[in-house]
């Protein structure tokens, strides 16, 4: 794990959509320069990304490979992400991590299980390495990507390398400009009903995206008795469990450490999920 922020050179930038870019960098030089012990990241883990002079913000790993190329996929929403967007190939950015727990992934494909992955917008980012892993494990999956409008679709080309559109890969748009018209949650509900009708058992649902979406998905899963894992977003200062800013009530679970991936068992007891978060001062606000 990289504990102190270390500068890496951006090796590639891909524009995924109007306001989403993927940045790739190789971390071998950091590992050797500073004798850092390396461990393969787990899908769902995140980095703290430092733009010197601006801010340092959490970003999920959207990719990593054996060559130790890591990537993050960033949506431009404010000051720090805007500055990231101004960076060019060869520019430096600081990283520390990876932090967090990552998704719990089944070790092998038993009983022909079916897993469903649901991403909302930029929430697709941590799901990409998860999907790659599930495919590698030959686990049957259905992927749903929900966006507001056609221009926001990301990773479609990548996903179509492995999945078949409208069979194992669905897109929903709120405005109906592409694919299913409506919310990802409604599409998810209808897919589940269809699969259950066909006699298929859904073992696991993974999700990342707006909390309201995950909140609804979780409740649909509860209704059908399907276990759920969602990647939660909370304000993060330290990213490793010290400051307490990301703590959930009433369990005391730290989203940066015991999370960001939380499962049904934890979410059931969480009174904050879908309802409250904290700002950078620690003040609790309704979502």
């Amino acid at each position: 794990m990289i504990k102190k922020p270390r500068m890496v050179q951006i090796s590639e930038i891909v524009q995924e959509s109007k306001d989403v870019k993927t940045f790739t960098f190789n971390i071998k030089s950091i590992l050797s320069n500073y004798s850092i012990q390396y461990q393969d990241p787990t899908p769902g883990e995140f980095l703290m990304v430092w733009v010197p002079g601006i801010d340092e913000i959490p970003m999920s790993l959207s990719g990593f490979n054996n060559n130790k190329d890591w990537s993050i996929t960033v949506k431009e929403v404010g000051e720090c992400t805007e500055m990231l967007f101004n960076l060019e190939k060869s520019d430096l950015v600081g990283i520390r991590g990876p932090f967090g727990n990552g998704f719990q992934i089944p070790e092998f494909n038993f009983n022909n299980q079916l897993n469903i992955v649901v991403g909302g917008g930029i929430g697709m980012a941590p799901l990409i390495p998860l999907i790659s892993e599930l495919i590698k494990l030959k686990i049957k999956i259905i992927v749903i990507e929900g966006v507001k409008s056609k221009e926001e679709i990301i990773f479609k080309k990548y996903l179509k390398n492995y999945l078949i559109e409208n069979e194992t890969f669905y897109i929903s748009t709120d405005d109906g400009s592409y694919g299913y018209k409506g919310f990802a949650t409604d599409l998810f509900n209808s897919i589940i009903e269809k699969e259950i009708e066909k006699g298929n058992k859904i073992n696991q649902v993974y999700s990342c995206g707006p909390e309201q979406m995950m909140y609804e998905l979780f409740h649909i899963c509860e209704k059908f008795n399907i276990s759920f894992q969602g990647s939660l977003e909370r304000m993060m200062r330290c990213g490793f469990g010290m400051c307490g800013l990301c703590v959930l009530d009433p369990s005391g679970i730290r989203v940066c450490r015991e999370g960001p991936i939380l499962d049904s068992k934890i979410l059931r007891t969480c009174t904050d999920f879908g309802k409250y978060n904290r700002d950078f001062s620690g003040k609790k606000n309704t979502i």
């Binding site: 922020p5 330290c238 400051c243 307490g244 609790k284």
Partner: protein, 305 residues
């Protein structure tokens, strides 16, 4: 002995301010893990976002630098957390700061009214304006006297190591009516990124905590124990039972634990169990039996020539 100090004597392990002290639920976990009390994040009169990130970094294994900058939701937004703590029967010390004698007092009184068992006066955050108080014995006296006058609950004053003579500040606090002292807050420090050649923390400098400052804190404790009569809570780099025992031997009535708790919620239980094991092995009944024992020895005052 007041009710509060009885509770601390029974379980002399306290959560330090600023670590997992934002929400009642993390403090509850630490209390349930065996702490005798918890100190909340330092709370001020109004909402404050503090410094931008990077603001907390692990720079060596178990050693951290931070410049959180007293981020807090403001006392009015924090009342609900204090009430939750009290509803859960948690012995609660509210850490308080302000920007004047009046605001320090206001926040302390509001915390008292919300149910706090004690107040810890933070006059020693090294990367915020308030640090000037703890560097001046007269200011320390004035602030402590003023706040103490309005309190029915015990007042603890937290001191900084970043002063020429911590002893005179401690005496000042004692004279002003402080019921106990916490020593130490973080040690002034800086880290520079050699690639960009700039300080890493957004604020530039910050406070060092964790393993590296433990010996510094033990020395401050050793010195303070000779000077003041009120109880002293040792704070700085307690990661193991051994670290805690050192503090007691140097003169601490209780120890505070901060940085070590980032690991997991069991960390405090492990430290306490290991410290209790020491008592058992060495046939002591309680931690109070070993307080100040390191002072029994003569140390070499002049070098050999």
């Amino acid at each position: 002995m007041s009710e509060f100090f009885k509770k601390i004597a029974e379980k002399p392990f306290i959560l330090a301010s600023g670590i997992l002290g934002v929400s009642y639920s993390s403090m509850k976990r630490i209390f349930e893990g065996g702490a005798g009390a918890v100190v909340t994040k330092s709370i001020g009169p109004i909402l404050r976002k503090g410094y931008k990130n990077p603001s907390i970094i692990e720079i060596l294994p178990g050693t951290f630098i931070n410049s959180v900058g007293l981020a807090n939701p403001g006392i009015d937004n924090f009342i609900s957390e204090i009430k939750e703590l009290k509803q859960n029967n948690i012995t609660t010390i509210v850490s308080v700061f302000g920007d004047s004698i009046e605001t320090y007092t206001q926040v302390a009184v509001k915390a008292q009214d919300a149910g706090a068992d004690a107040i810890e006066l933070n006059i020693s955050c090294p990367h915020a304006e308030i640090s000037i108080i703890c560097q001046n014995k007269q200011l320390t006296y004035e602030y402590v006297v003023a706040v103490k006058k309005e309190l029915k609950i015990p007042l603890i004053v937290k001191l900084s190591p970043n002063v020429t003579d911590i002893g005179e500040i401690a005496l000042s606090a004692e004279k002003a009516g402080a019921d106990a002292i916490t020593a130490i807050n973080t040690v002034n420090a800086m880290v520079i990124d050699i690639e960009t050649q700039r300080p890493i923390l957004s604020h530039g400098s910050g406070g060092l905590s964790g393993k590296a400052i433990h010996p510094i804190a033990v020395k401050k404790m050793f010195d303070l124990y000779k000077i003041v009569r009120i109880p002293i809570f040792g704070c700085g780099g307690v990661f193991t039972g051994e670290d805690a025992i050192e503090f007691f031997l140097a003169g601490a009535s209780a120890v505070q634990i901060g940085s070590a708790l980032y690991q997991d919620y069991n960390a405090i239980t492990n430290i306490i169990n290991s410290a209790k094991k020491y008592l058992e092995v060495h046939n002591y009944k309680s931690f109070s039996d070993i307080v100040g024992n390191a002072h029994k020895f003569e140390t070499q005052e002049a070098p050999d020539f």
